[in-house]
Amino acid sequence: MAEHYSSFERGGRRWLLQRLTAVFLIGVLAFHFLLLHFANHAADITFAGTQARMSQVGYFATMWLFLVTATFHGVNGVYNALVNQGISGTQKTAVKWALVVASVLLVAQGTRVALAMTNLV
């Protein structure tokens, strides 16, 4: 099909996970934007307000899942874009592990930050 342009190999595992995380992210990203820019104005954000939201277990869990799925979706997108550009062999392996390490660090730091925002621990 001439009109189909994608960096993903359709039907593959990375393609499927990218689509599944996308569906989750559409809802949560819209919620995040609406809550923190429209319901609460970004300029009015204080630590106390953040702590009140993040100390609710449901909200905390949603935001943590948001972090994990957004990290996966973003990094998987970058990896597939680079594979689509033609990297292979050692380059491909190096990119893969650099992205895995970046993801682990981001999720670890994000989790640390999320916990610091709560009064749960």
Binding site: Y5, V23, A42, A43, L106, Q109
Partner: protein, 131 residues
């Protein structure tokens, strides 16, 4: 009856004047994706001030929000995110084989809807006290 056209390589940016809607959608989706993943890392870095105490977090976020350039960057981020979401839904439809014959129109619709949402959001983003 479906027809196949040889439109050349989308990576060959030098011939951008000949690009079809689907090729532009691919380029915009990739560009907005790079911006969003870059922002994700930046966002966590800024929020990390929460580990330095309540005062530091509040003053950093309010200090950033007091800058007009940050408000404009937020509008830009909204534009990038909304387009990526709308075109992502379009890609999902394309992958499922839904509305293939209208995939160029759905790309234009994504652009128009992004523009409308962004314009409607400008008062909210630029409103509120600045430094």
């Amino acid at each position: 009856m479906s027809q196949s056209y040889n439109r050349g390589t989308v990576e060959d940016f030098g011939r951008w004047r000949e690009f079809s809607a689907g090729m532009w959608a691919w380029i915009f989706h990739k560009f907005t994706g790079w911006v969003l993943v870059g922002y994700l890392f930046t966002h966590i870095a800024v929020l990390s001030t929460a580990t330095q105490g309540a005062e530091m977090y509040t003053s950093t976020l309010q200090g950033l929000e007091a800058l007009l350039i940050v408000r404009f960057l937020e509008v830009g981020l909204l534009a990038v995110a909304v387009f990526h979401i709308l075109n992502g839904v379009r890609l999902l439809m394309v992958d499922l084989g839904v509305g293939l014959e209208a995939q160029d129109k759905s790309f234009y619709a994504s652009l128009v809807l992004t523009g409308a949402i962004v314009v409607a959001s400008i008062p909210t983003f630029l409103g509120g006290p600045l430094a």
